[in-house]
């Protein structure tokens, strides 16, 4: 039994056999050929290139069909490389000169290119080295007549294990047989993590020493909540996880019957329960789990997936298709919330010492008006569906809000000039995620239609804690009295000015916080689709009057730890089955 630890990337527990998507080493013979053989070898090489090209076109098509058009573009670079005439000519002339077999020559040329790409400073180009490696392997497999790499097939349900998961590796896998993903590299936004969440299977990423500890035939347990990966568990551990898995399964089954019911307390307090989404593919689970609407549509993936910002048309199509599927329920689209370095190439020397206090989100948008307006115009165009709202992230003061709103007005004017229709009364909201925004919440509320509290940033900026830093991450506390007071201030300010207040941060999806938030009179909870039914179940089983009392008690307590213990005790008594 080997215990490994990684980052939890998609929740749930999975137990199963290993399916290794390994980069099996390429074996290359060093042969010297005759003139006659060289001629045939060149032909073989060109056929391999052609056949690889066909494979990639097929993969591209599959990806576009299953994941959406924007994903397919990843493969355009592959195709361009294969069409590189200089590369082909060089390979052929090298073959003629050295009389070596084509896989030998091609491997060496590609390896050199790969190495020179890896050595580049530019992050984007550096990553292209993995495209080069992918191409290299595919072509060599073709030359050697080995199709393994091109058709990875899972025959029975298994947990997919890989060093790194690329779209081209996963595309041909039978998705119904995947029990989970574990990768040695990657983060919460890597391909494996995103795919796992879309498929609703557990996933753990960034697992050190994974590949050297695992062989085909192993059994693994993955816990997508804690990030634990156990290879060949002993009987006791296996039993523990099987019981846990069974419990989770029963619990989620018990939730099925409430999917179409409203999120209303026993004594009649109804709130809106919406979902946070990152990718269009998540819409299916949003609908399946009975969400009221989308409380936070993160648009960042549109920008991260590709080498350049998406066009107005591309964005318009995405926004519109999502809005249509969710109609008549609302879809709140958050404008770009990324660090500037992710969006534009930053000149050298502009490295930020404190990126979270730096050039990100709305601040970047103001510096790149064309990009910002392109997004706003796309949202406005799609708003004719009738259920779209705009939300601005990281507003720190009223001037920023005025400015952001003036961008909306300008975009509206431009569309009017172009004779393009949009929803004249589109609702505008701000994310409340900075302490400064809370302090001026009443003033902000006069300018917008709604608030949505982003707890992750609000806590980070209030408590000065980076949750990713293990030395201080224990200080990141949902139930710190300062955090609770800020939430209360925001809700009260919003209500005083007659607007609704929601929460789209992780705290909204924490079962421990539900009583407290209901008691503080939060109007909307926006949570991950996977946890939606659970939160709904809690809301439907409690009394609003109790929640008010509990929240008052919390407000009177001084210690974060004390509050957490208090809430845990209440939850354990009332909901013994809910995993906390």
């Amino acid at each position: 039994m080997i215990n490994l630890k990684g980052k939890a990337a998609s929740p749930g527990i999975s137990i199963g056999k290993v399916y290794l998507l390994d980069e099996d080493r390429i074996q290359i013979q060093d042969e010297t050929l005759t003139d006659e053989q060289i001629k045939k070898e060149i032909e073989k090489f060109l056929n391999a290139i052609k056949s690889t090209e066909e494979d990639i076109l097929k993969i591209k098509e599959n990806v576009e069909k299953s994941l959406g058009a924007s994903y397919g573009e990843i493969f355009d670079t592959h195709l361009m490389f294969l069409k590189d005439k200089v590369l082909l000519d060089k390979t052929i002339s090298e073959m003629k000169r050295t009389r070596k077999n084509s896989d030998h020559v091609f491997y060496r040329i590609m390896k050199k290119t790969q190495e020179s790409m890896i050595s580049l400073k530019d992050e984007y180009l550096k990553e292209r080295a993995s495209d080069i490696r992918d191409i290299k392997r595919r072509v060599i497999r073709k030359i050697q007549g080995d199709e393994r790499l091109c058709i990875y097939q899972i025959t029975e349900p298994a947990i997919v294990i890989s060093h790194e998961l690329t779209p081209s590796l996963t595309v041909n896998l039978d998705k119904s047989k995947i029990l989970g993903f574990v990768t040695e590299l990657g983060g919460r936004t890597s391909h494996a993590a995103i795919l796992a969440r879309a498929l609703e299977v557990p996933s753990v990423v960034a697992v050190k020493n994974l590949m050297k500890n695992i062989v085909p035939g192993d059994t693994v347990v993955i816990d997508g909540n804690s990030g634990n990966v156990i290879i060949n568990p002993d009987a006791e551990v296996l039993k523990k996880y099987e019981t846990q898995k069974e419990g989770l399964y029963k619990f989620s089954k018990s939730l099925e019957k409430i999917i179409s019911l409203p999120a209303v307390s026993l004594d009649g307090r109804e709130v809106e329960l919406s979902a946070n989404i990152e990718l269009p593919q998540e819409i299916d689970s949003v609908i399946a789990y009975g969400s009221h609407g989308i409380g936070l549509y993160r648009t960042e993936y549109l920008y991260l997936l590709k080498n350049q910002p998406p066009t107005e048309e591309e964005q318009y199509n995405e926004y519109k298709s999502i809005a249509k599927r969710i109609y008549p329920n609302p879809v709140i689209i958050r404008t770009i919330d990324l660090g500037g370095d992710k969006l534009v190439k930053t000149p050298k020397g502009l490295k930020e010492d404190n990126p979270f206090l730096g050039w990100r989100a709305i601040r970047v948008c103001f510096d790149y008006p064309i990009m910002f307006k392109t997004q706003l115009k796309a949202i406005l165009k799609a708003s004719t569906v009738g259920n779209i709202a705009i939300m601005f992230p990281m507003i720190s003061g009223i001037d920023e809000l005025y400015k952001a709103k003036s961008f909306v007005d300008e975009s509206k004017e431009e569309l009017t000039k172009e004779d393009i229709k949009f929803d004249e009364n589109i609702k505008i909201g701000v994310m409340i995620e900075l302490p400064s925004a809370v302090m001026i919440a009443e003033e902000l509320a006069e300018e917008v239609d709604f608030f949505s509290i982003g707890t992750n940033d609000l806590i980070q900026y209030t408590l000065a804690v980076d949750r990713g830093n293990v030395r201080v991450s224990n200080l990141f506390q949902f139930f710190h009295p300062a955090v609770i007071k800020l939430i209360k201030m925001t809700i009260d300010a919003g209500h005083k000015k007659g607007i609704w207040v929601g929460m789209c941060g992780e705290m909204a999806g924490d079962p421990l916080a539900t009583y407290l938030l209901i008691g503080l009179r939060l109007d909307e909870f926006s949570v991950s689709p996977l946890i939606l039914a659970e939160i709904k179940q809690i809301i439907r089983s409690i009394n609003y009057s109790d929640a008010i009392k509990i929240s008052e008690n919390c407000l009177n307590m001084k210690s974060a730890e004390g509050i957490e213990i208090y809430l845990t005790k209440i939850m354990k008594e009332k909901f013994p089955n809910i995993p906390l």
């Binding site: 355009d76 590369l87 580049l120 530019d122």
Partner: protein, 89 residues
């Protein structure tokens, strides 16, 4: 042989799409076309070559064209780079 030094103006530099349009244009001519940057020389008709040049916004590259249609080729390439590969408006 004709030469010209130019500054890359488009924001993403010679990334995939701009590199591809440069290669596509260069490949239309029979002349030999090379790009030089910081002592590194690559064939402008090779996408891999052009990408390994890692020419970002603001970097200077030297275009060297040698062949029958060199004048026209250089003219067109300059136009493409000055127009920022038509990627921005």
């Amino acid at each position: 042989m004709v030469k010209k030094e130019l500054t890359i103006l488009n924001s993403s530099g010679l990334h995939a799409r701009p590199a591809a349009s440069l290669v596509k244009l260069a490949s239309r001519f029979t002349s030999k076309i090379y790009l030089q940057k910081d002592g590194l020389e690559v064939n402008a008709k090779s996408i891999m070559g052009v990408m390994t040049l890692a020419a970002e916004k603001g970097s200077k590259i030297l275009i060297i064209v040698d062949g029958k249609d060199e004048e026209e080729a250089l003219k067109q390439l300059i136009k493409l780079i000055k127009n920022k590969f038509c990627e921005e408006n």
